[in-house]
């Protein structure tokens, strides 16, 4: 503890030290040696070196520490030099100059563990609080908030005075408040005043911090903390419910994507297509291949590989769908049991061929940067991946409605499903329309596959996880009705997410199944039943 305090004091003295050139020089001399000694150090020794480096308080150590935490610091086994590697560029960890190593260079990473990463973050927070980059300052303020220390208060005060970015400022104030609340050296009034600052500025960690503080706070402070907590808890309950709705919509949109192709092949054409899930799986593998090609040949397009994969997946699975319809299904119209068995066979063949070609292990599709991470929307935490999938599902649904209701092909499809013989005598090529409809349904399954690469495994079994859910959505929503599929998917998604916290994931799923069985008993045709003569066939 004493040494830690000493480190803090040195850190604090940093600005003054820098003014004294001699002192800075004196310290600079041993930094390269310390950095170089990291190469052969054990984890424990590394911890010591990190704290030694931090105690120099020299900003020159920041790149080395940052690289160590990020895993970019390497040891060249041949020359035992420690270097930073970014991409293929090598640089010196202290001076930042480019380094050229001999041909026999054998780089091995200097590895760190969680507790070292935490130490480095703390050390860096002190040195980067004045950085020019707002994101770095934000990270530094976060570091101070996570590991409060009263010795940091002057540093924080100085940073707060100089801060211009509103978000960073709020967090710095929160960090300051957390530090004051947590230490009994400060007087009660100050600590009391810190509580509302934490509640309003610390965001989602406020509850954590206040609950933690509650156990150690003196009795005089407890009522204030409790009332702040009560307010936050109430707020969280409201947002929690909204968050559940969002989770439900997001699950529903995944169900919708998987089911909507089936709504066409099963709902509109009446074909029980057990190979539908495999179309989804093939869409996912197409994405994998597209990304592989892009990564090897056009790395600058990597962020857009999903967008490029969309048409590829649509046309590939669409073509396979047409092939299946022409090759197998058209011989089996009106014989649901045989169709079921034949398409099930096809699904097994597709699964095993993919397994033979690509191997049984999962394949990797990297999430583009615009689909990684999450953002805060008032009290909601929304992950970008899910957000784009919801948008994507909505677009696919709208486009499909447009195709069915506003194009010649859509008109013919509806005509053929409603009365095949009449449509045929009006000059519609019904076999062509059948193939196109099946192709469209399969193509949309392929699109779903592209989206699912972002949330699920890309393995030969991918489709199997979705086929049951898809049938459930279509049957529940009402066969032959796209709006039914939309409402069905969203209802199941939201219901599932509201049951899950109470019943658990396993029981929740069972309950949903039971509810659907009961519902189908009452309304055998689903939510939105088709009416009219077509139904009686």
């Amino acid at each position: 503890m004493l040494t830690l305090r000493a480190i803090r004091l040195v850190l604090l003295a940093l600005p003054f030290l820098l003014t004294s050139i001699d002192a800075a020089r004196a310290q600079e001399t041993d930094i390269p040696a310390l950095v170089q000694s990291m190469g052969e150090a054990s984890l424990r020794e590394l911890g010591q070196i990190v704290s030694d480096l931090a105690s120099t308080g020299d900003p020159a150590v920041v790149p080395a520490l940052q690289a160590l935490a990020d895993g970019n610091l390497y040891l060249d086994e041949a020359s035992s030099a420690v270097v930073i590697q970014r991409g293929s560029a090598l640089s010196d960890p202290v001076s930042g100059d480019a380094v050229a190593l001999g041909a026999d260079a054998d780089l091995s990473r200097i590895r760190v563990n969680n507790s070292l990463r935490r130490d480095i973050a703390t050390a860096l927070a002190g040195m980067t609080l004045m950085s020019d980059n707002p994101a770095t300052r934000l990270a530094a303020a976060n570091g101070f908030m996570a590991r409060p220390d009263p010795a940091n208060i002057p540093l924080l005060d100085e940073a707060i005075a100089a801060e211009t970015n509103a978000n960073v400022l709020r967090l710095m104030q929160a960090a300051r408040a957390v530090t004051i609340l947590g230490d009994d050296e400060f007087d009660l009034a100050d600590r009391q005043a810190a509580i509302p600052v934490i509640a309003s500025n610390a965001g989602r960690s406020a509850i954590t911090i206040l609950t933690g503080a509650l156990s150690t706070a003196p009795d005089d402070l407890k009522p204030a903390i409790q009332s702040a907590l009560a307010g936050l808890e109430q707020e969280r309950a409201v947002w929690g419910a909204l968050q559940n709705v969002w989770f439900g919509i997001s699950l529903g949109s995944v169900l919708l994507l998987a089911a909507i192709g089936l709504a066409i092949t099963f709902g509109v054409m009446g074909v029980i297509n057990m190979a539908h899930g495999e179309m989804v799986m093939l869409g996912a593998y197409t994405t994998f291949i597209v990304q592989l090609i892009i990564r090897q040949n056009f790395p600058f397009l990597l962020d857009y590989s999903l967008l490029i994969a969309l048409p590829a997946a649509f046309f590939l699975t669409g073509a396979i769908g047409v092939g299946i319809e022409r090759g197998v299904i058209r011989w089996l119209y009106g014989r649901p049991l045989e169709t079921l068995l034949a398409t099930w066979g096809i699904s097994l063949i597709l699964q095993q061929s993919v397994r033979s070609i690509f191997g049984p292990t999962n394949q990797m599709v990297i999430a583009p940067t615009w689909m990684s991470g999450s953002f805060e929307f008032y009290g909601l935490s929304i992950t970008y991946g899910r957000f784009w999938i919801v948008i994507f599902a909505a677009i696919v649904f709208a486009l499909l409605l447009l195709v069915l209701n506003r194009t010649a092909l859509g008109l013919q499809m509806r005509a053929v499903t409603q009365n095949r013989r009449m449509a045929s005598s009006m000059g519609i090529r019904t076999p062509f329309v059948d193939a196109m409809t099946f192709g469209l349904g399969s193509g949309i399954a392929g699109l779903a596959g592209v989206a699912l690469t972002q949330i699920d495994n890309i393995s030969p079994n991918l489709g199997q996880n979705y086929i049951i859910d898809s049938f459930m959505v279509v049957v529940f929503g009402g066969v032959g009705n796209l709006w039914g599929t939309l409402v069905g998917a969203l209802t199941l998604g939201v219901a599932n997410k509201f049951l899950e916290p109470y019943a658990g994931a396993v029981l929740g799923k069972i309950l949903i199944l039971v509810l659907i069985i009961l519902f189908i008993q009452r309304r055998p045709r689903g939510l939105f039943a088709l009416k009219g003569r077509a139904v009686e066939q």
Partner: protein
């Protein structure tokens, strides 16, 4: 038809062997020793088990190149149990009765092991089971070369408690026998260690669960109670990738809430961009990154055999490596492949493992293993941050559950029993 010819051939062989031993050339079938490989090559477990099938073929090929066993070549018999457990029992019976294999290497899930167990007991054959499992079992015909809870789960929890100062625990698992039993043991262990019941959250999900939004956000909320929180994950198979993806997306960092997994290895991570997962943990008895000459040679041989330098090695592969070598040694020691002789010979045998230690077959049919804790790196490998100083002997019956604390397994004379009650000094006293 096949059954008939195989039987008659055997009869002929037996007859020929007894009557005209020196003169008659031995039938082709007698030239080889057959080994059964009982893994899922299709269905949901194919992702993990196909590699184990390849591992066994690789080990057998290597052994044959080195002269086989008892001067005979080993002939692998591969069957696909298709992730279907009743089928596994049927195929196990077929392997032993029809194909006449002398030992079977196989199964991944506990439910597979439980369903083939009666077959091996009835037909008195041998099963080598290579995966970490929940313990609470010891059977005369089965050799458990994977970890029991005291060789994986308990040390991992100790590590989190001591090194990371964790006080609040989420036990998340897939809903079947291994996670349920492991979590039961862990819960009791944590309660004994003074963790309050409200600081333990247990959560189960179905196989292949893909929508983790609610659970991950629950974990986040549970972890925001001001105490250091960790997740102990017994989530199995395909569900892991979406789970870790959601963790990464919701911004749960290893420095804040570390996840320690018992079923996630190099193979599972190979389909995955692990950058957001750096620092999350796994507990195993072997990591591909362990730097020993044995391991280096094993990886090089394996990659040459499979024809790809991208293929990784993992813990259950090492378990098969150990199990197979122990079986070969036992057969050589017994001078026969007869099940009873091998069972007697194998206890006490030693073979080097790949991490620089020695695996010893214990009287309870478990083996000694080191326990390693690794942190996930951005290249899908693990960096060992902690390991036990000594080898840990596998314990069949957990000492932390009151109903099994007094049980012991010992398949050597005079006890010769899988559930010996040390209090009443009788066998089979507790319900299994």
């Amino acid at each position: 038809m096949i059954r008939f010819s195989a039987k008659s051939a055997l009869l002929a062989a037996a007859f020929a062997g007894s009557a005209f031993l020196p003169m008659t050339p031995v039938l082709a079938q007698d030239d080889t020793i057959k080994v059964g490989i009982l893994h899922s090559l299709s269905g949901t477990m194919a992702i993990s088990e196909t590699t184990l099938k390849d591992t066994m073929l690789f080990l057998i090929e290597k052994q044959n190149a080195a002269g086989g066993v008892l001067g005979k070549q080993i002939e692998p018999v591969v069957v696909d149990i298709a992730s279907d457990w009743p089928l596994a029992a049927e195929l196990a019976r077929q392997l032993v009765e029809v194909d006449n294999v002398d030992a079977v290497f196989g199964c991944w899930t506990s439910v597979c092991r439980k369903s083939v167990l009666p077959v091996f007991e009835e037909l008195n054959s041998l099963l080598f089971y290579p995966v970490q499992y929940e313990g609470e079992e010891s059977q005369r015909n089965v050799f458990y070369t994977g970890a029991s809870p005291n060789q994986q789960a308990i040390p991992a929890v100790d590590y989190l408690m001591e090194e990371e100062g964790v006080e609040r625990w989420v036990l998340a698992g897939t809903d079947y026998v291994y996670p349920q039993t492991t979590n039961k043991i862990l819960e009791q262990y944590l309660l004994d260690a003074g963790v309050a019941p409200e600081d333990i959250m247990i959560n189960y999900t179905p196989f292949g669960h893909s929508d983790w939004q609610t659970i991950v956000s629950d974990i986040k909320a549970f972890g925001s109670a001001g105490k250091k929180t960790a997740v102990v994950s017994t989530i199995n198979g395909d569900a892991n990738v979406p789970f870790y993806r959601e963790l990464g997306n919701q911004g749960i960092k290893a420095e804040d809430i570390p996840v320690v997994a018992f079923s996630v290895g190099e193979e599972e991570l190979s389909g995955f961009d692990t950058t957001p997962l750096v620092g999350h943990l796994a507990a195993w008895n072997y990591f591909m990154s362990v730097d020993t000459p044995e391991n280096e040679a094993f990886i090089a041989d394996w990659q040459a055999y499979i024809g790809s330098t991208d293929r990784v090695t993992n813990d259950p592969m090492e378990a098969h490596y150990i199990g197979f070598n122990l079986w070969v040694k036992a057969v050589e020691a017994a001078g026969t492949t007869d099940a009873d002789a091998v069972i007697d010979a194998i206890v006490g045998l030693e073979t080097p493992n790949l991490t620089g230690g020695t695996a010893t077959m214990l009287p309870n049919h478990h083996i000694t293993k080191p326990v390693l804790i690794g942190e996930i790196q951005d290249d899908g490998q693990f960096f060992v941050v902690w390991e036990t100083e000594d080898l840990v002997p596998g314990d069949a019956w957990s000492d932390f559950l009151p109903e099994s604390a007094m049980l012991e397994a010992d398949w050597t004379a005079p006890i010769n029993c899988g559930n010996y009650n040390t209090q009443t000094q009788t066998c089979g006293a507790a319900a299994q």
